[in-house]
Symmetry: C5
Subunit: 354 residues, 5 copies
Amino acid sequence: MPRFYKKVSSKAGQTPGTLTHVGKKKVAKVRITLNDYDEKQIQQKEMKRIEDCFPFKDKPTVTWVNIDGLHDTETIEKIGKHFGIHPLVLEDIVNTEQRPKVDEFDDYIFIVLKMLSLNEKSGETHSEQVSMILGKNYVVSFQEAIGDIFDPVRKRLAEGKGKIRKSGSDYLAYALLDIIVDNYFKILENFGEKIESIEEGLVDNPKSESLQTIHSLKREMIFLRRSVWPLREAISSLERSESGLIEKKTRIYLRDVYDHTIQVIDTIETFRDMVSGMVDLYLSSVSNKMNQVMKVLTIIATIFIPLTFIAGIYGMNFDVMPELRWSFGYFMVWGVMIAIGLVMLAYFRRKEWL
Amino acid sequence: MPRFYKKVSSKAGQTPGTLTHVGKKKVAKVRITLNDYDEKQIQQKEMKRIEDCFPFKDKPTVTWVNIDGLHDTETIEKIGKHFGIHPLVLEDIVNTEQRPKVDEFDDYIFIVLKMLSLNEKSGETHSEQVSMILGKNYVVSFQEAIGDIFDPVRKRLAEGKGKIRKSGSDYLAYALLDIIVDNYFKILENFGEKIESIEEGLVDNPKSESLQTIHSLKREMIFLRRSVWPLREAISSLERSESGLIEKKTRIYLRDVYDHTIQVIDTIETFRDMVSGMVDLYLSSVSNKMNQVMKVLTIIATIFIPLTFIAGIYGMNFDVMPELRWSFGYFMVWGVMIAIGLVMLAYFRRKEWL
Amino acid sequence: MPRFYKKVSSKAGQTPGTLTHVGKKKVAKVRITLNDYDEKQIQQKEMKRIEDCFPFKDKPTVTWVNIDGLHDTETIEKIGKHFGIHPLVLEDIVNTEQRPKVDEFDDYIFIVLKMLSLNEKSGETHSEQVSMILGKNYVVSFQEAIGDIFDPVRKRLAEGKGKIRKSGSDYLAYALLDIIVDNYFKILENFGEKIESIEEGLVDNPKSESLQTIHSLKREMIFLRRSVWPLREAISSLERSESGLIEKKTRIYLRDVYDHTIQVIDTIETFRDMVSGMVDLYLSSVSNKMNQVMKVLTIIATIFIPLTFIAGIYGMNFDVMPELRWSFGYFMVWGVMIAIGLVMLAYFRRKEWL
Amino acid sequence: MPRFYKKVSSKAGQTPGTLTHVGKKKVAKVRITLNDYDEKQIQQKEMKRIEDCFPFKDKPTVTWVNIDGLHDTETIEKIGKHFGIHPLVLEDIVNTEQRPKVDEFDDYIFIVLKMLSLNEKSGETHSEQVSMILGKNYVVSFQEAIGDIFDPVRKRLAEGKGKIRKSGSDYLAYALLDIIVDNYFKILENFGEKIESIEEGLVDNPKSESLQTIHSLKREMIFLRRSVWPLREAISSLERSESGLIEKKTRIYLRDVYDHTIQVIDTIETFRDMVSGMVDLYLSSVSNKMNQVMKVLTIIATIFIPLTFIAGIYGMNFDVMPELRWSFGYFMVWGVMIAIGLVMLAYFRRKEWL
Amino acid sequence: MPRFYKKVSSKAGQTPGTLTHVGKKKVAKVRITLNDYDEKQIQQKEMKRIEDCFPFKDKPTVTWVNIDGLHDTETIEKIGKHFGIHPLVLEDIVNTEQRPKVDEFDDYIFIVLKMLSLNEKSGETHSEQVSMILGKNYVVSFQEAIGDIFDPVRKRLAEGKGKIRKSGSDYLAYALLDIIVDNYFKILENFGEKIESIEEGLVDNPKSESLQTIHSLKREMIFLRRSVWPLREAISSLERSESGLIEKKTRIYLRDVYDHTIQVIDTIETFRDMVSGMVDLYLSSVSNKMNQVMKVLTIIATIFIPLTFIAGIYGMNFDVMPELRWSFGYFMVWGVMIAIGLVMLAYFRRKEWL
């Protein structure tokens, strides 16, 4: 179950701009990787110290610095200083409880969103906060842990395929956004499959586990919704941004990401409708089944009650009970009983209670 | 049951603009048909190669190229190159999971929507993605499979009836939109009939199948809604478009399509209200019926329980039980039992439990 | 029960602007009535042919042509030609499935809405589409059938009471709108009375018919809502219209109609809230009553079960059963049974189960 | 229970601007009271004829004419003529079914709203329509009946306390609005107390009356909402009005009334949430209680059924039944029965059914 | 349980601007504390009389006057006079039933919001109204009681850490807002923990107390929502304010507070969804458990009823009952009974009723 809050309250009362890492410390050491490229050449290497990346900033090439691990606030402060990032932005980067948003500043655009990935084995959704600083000719991205879904972008950079090497830092930021949003579809597919597998047995064989599964599905959906809804507005504001950092020809790509985001939201809403319909279906299936049980059992009881009464009558010990003396009395009683039973059965049939 | 997602996640990480056909491959071979007309003459023929259509583009006549089948990405790439279509648009064309939308570019307008048709035999709704490129004097339309609902337009073109031959490519695009939206009404009628037929037996004879039918109706409605809602905004933006591609006199026709779209949405919402009312009606009918069963049966049981108790009393084997010795004892007990039964019946009647 | 859709799908694929009457053919012959007036004089007469009305159009007097019956598309086409009405507008006039709307054109304003009237005898709501063409000094109105609610306007015209004879065609259109909206209140009153009469017996004596009545009420409300909601926007756009056809002094009257429309919508929403509250009330009343039945009956059964068990004990035929031999045994058993019964009753009382 | 509609349909078809009093005739005679003041002096007196008030209008002092009783349409017509009020406004004044609204005209502002007061004895909410005409240096207010909540304003006028005597007619109108809105809080307090008193017994002792009380509370809330919601927009439009009739310094006071209105709406919405939560709580309390009854009773029955069966076994009259001959048979059977009873009790305990 | 209304109705009819303290009188004596600082020096002291603070206002330093206790309306009136505060603002300060809002005036900005703090022992949420007057170089804050959450700000002021001493009064106001909003997260964490602890036992062991806890949680959430929702708009209007009182560099900090507010609202909405999901889960868990009980018990009863009937048959006293004479009769009956019991068990098993 994804948790919906972390211990952020410990931050209350701190000087604004104080860098306190909120979230689990996921890596032992911060890993810094650098991509520096233009149309002709590319360098991809891992850096030991953040200072080693700084010289690349002033080169005309596009520089992508990726930081894995947010607990080393010193490194982040250095970046902040060198790139001229506002302390509040740095604070947002290390506090992994951000809502997806896009904030524009004079020299850079700050983007924060959730990278969701599916653990193929456990079927669980893993969420990680990704922040990006998009500057004139650089992108600095921050992740909580080593391991991400950006490898296709790195490969495209290395191979120089597509437009990526020929375009600026805004296209790189788009490419990262795009791959994150595309991954949401994977999560949705996984959801869709879960929903279908639950739905199958729901009417014929409703189990009480189903309800719990539906319930946990609902919660995951709440979580997913919360990650994606604000993204819509964020990307839309990015697309319509008047900042000079986004070139006109990149906007059409952002529009495409925007369309995908809407599609994701649409699908989530559809799933919500479907899941809430399933709860109703489950509940009425359960009650249908229970009704059937109760009905059949009650009918059996009802048929035997009058018969037992008759048997009780002739079990009485009155001195004078003429029927008891008749030689065919016993058989007659059997006849009466069978007749009553049949009449009742017929009545129930006609009333469609059976 | 319409599926709400297809395998689009395989696209994640691809270079944007890569053409990957998403959807079922519905035709063996791509079919290309051409209509080229002006007020005086018309050519309607099937083309083997897409290149054969290109010369028509530069003629002053209106050219309508229709492509059935999206899996042959090469053909689509050629069109893209010749007509100057943005790679992302081509990507949207072959990915059949698009949300209805209208995107305006400098030289053309891209329209994508869902063509719904009713399989008369099975009563199932069939959905297919239709994309259109509306250019200065051409329309290129893309469909997933051979067989569509555009025949009346082709016939009007051939016969030269109405305004269609005298108008430009924008009117042709309108005519195609119009016929697609008009077909939604057929789907809705089919829905309406299903709803009425379910509703009839709902109160008197609620069956557990009804719920499942309602449930599947609900899902189809979710699907339909999803296809139509975005269309409203799309057509509205087309109508208010400032692009020179849409002539002023065509706008009033687009407005008409817009009105129809709203009418479709209205009807869907009405159906939704009706269907959710039916669920309530079904559930309370079922519980009404169950209550009746339980009530009658419980009453029978309740009447006989005290009587059986009395019979039990006189079945006891105490040495001293004066009543057993009375010669009229047996008949008196019968009298008492009948009296008790009648009193209870009367009580239940008065309480309106019967 | 009002139907929510008619066979409009037969229109799919027709040339736009083709006049196909959709709706029931309600009159044998189209009836054409003419009112032509200015402050000083008025002519009110029935016309045989529509052509006879045309000369009045060019006179400075205000001309009101009313057409009852929409199946004679020839007449409507002639009007269209003479008054210069757009073919799509004519199509909307004969297709009686329109949503209330106001469309402005250069020379005229097209208004379409639903005229509801109450059949006093059957208590049913009757709906008819009314369209109006408001031109410089004429109004052409179209109705589905002979018989309407406009008689008070005709009388005011004839008598020259109020401002109507002194005002232009815009005031006439307002007067017709006003009387249509005022009639909605009659429908609402009828609804209100139905709701109250159902509500009265709901708590004390819930019947399964009530639910059906509520259900049909709900459906009628859905229908009513659908007729009135779009009217709000339509009249508002008319009021704020920049067309020269609406004089400034008439706007305040339109504002009044607008206020009435909002009031109608408000009342419908209130009724909706009330009706959905009634469903809850009904359901819990039913279950309350059922609970009462079950409780009392179950309690009776429960009291007698242990007693019957005791009777069963002393009905056993063991050779050695000391109590059977006691001379006061039988009476003691009675005592024990009565004691058990009373203790149980007291317990149930204390638990407030009785 | 407040009624939600009155007989307004009788108005349908009348000439617009016809004054027809809709509502109960609440007073025998119309009462006219006049307040005429400036900073230095004040006159407060009752007038016999409306004409006596007219001379005050042209004086530079602020004049407040209050009319109690709306059935005397002649008086209202005279006011309309003298003050130059539009006939439709007069119509709105006498039709007490208005929605709260503010209409601006060139020379005056028309305000209509609902005055709610609490009948302390019966606990019922009493609603009355109050209309105001705010002109250059006069306010004319109309009420349905004698007796209002304006006495504090009259007293402040008489005593010359606060700003009221030093300010214009707009401040007077504000003062009247303010006191009406402040009275809504009284109604809300009364509601709050009712809600709390119902809530107290709801869990431990749910009664079927509670549901009816909640239901009637809900209806009153619907009514209250309907009176207050439109007021928000009305006062907001008054505050932002560009009419010269509202001085800048009065606007801040109107803003204060606006804040209060929002607070009232907020509280109503909160109450709605609470009440609908209470319905759920009531329903599950009832079913909890019912479940308890059924469970205990069924358990008793279940324990005795197998025991009675055993007793039945040894009540059979077979010639050969070895156990019957055992001298300890009877006691053994008792032992078995007690054992079975205890085992079942233990089982139920462990399953937490008891 | 937080109360949702206080006795504010007693204010109805008062002269606007009359200071009447609404709320509990929480302190015996008003406490006045002063912070006066610039970059170089700071004075922090408690003042006896409010007049002692006035000289600081005209100094170029930033002055923060904090008032604990609102019942001493005289002190507040003096502040109002000296700082030129509008009487209505003063009225809002002492009436602790305000909705969070920001009102801009020419010389100052009035901010009112709710300070929530968590009583660590009882787990209860404590709410207090905080108002602030933000002027050119001063902030006056008002609280209901002594004891607040501002100590970190005071410490930062004293120590001169961060930007606070170098910035103006707008940054001080921000710092106070920030700490109040940050404290909401503490409340939310507490909520989250409560929700999780309830949820744990909900499926396996639903107790009727759970529902009450959920209900009270819901009410607290309603209360919390009401405190926070309006804050969103208020802070947003502050951030976009065109008043010269807010420096440009402070706006980015306000934006940060705004983001936090949205996050708080988001979390509240998530909790609402979760809690309402829990109600459904609770109800179906309860009914699941009840169904289980009923099912098992009914099955036991049903098996024994036919068996008891058979025993009853052979308990009859007919003279002629051949089976009774058979020597193996008794054992055969046992056999039949066991067979019937097993068949029924098998049937129930196969039907999955067991």
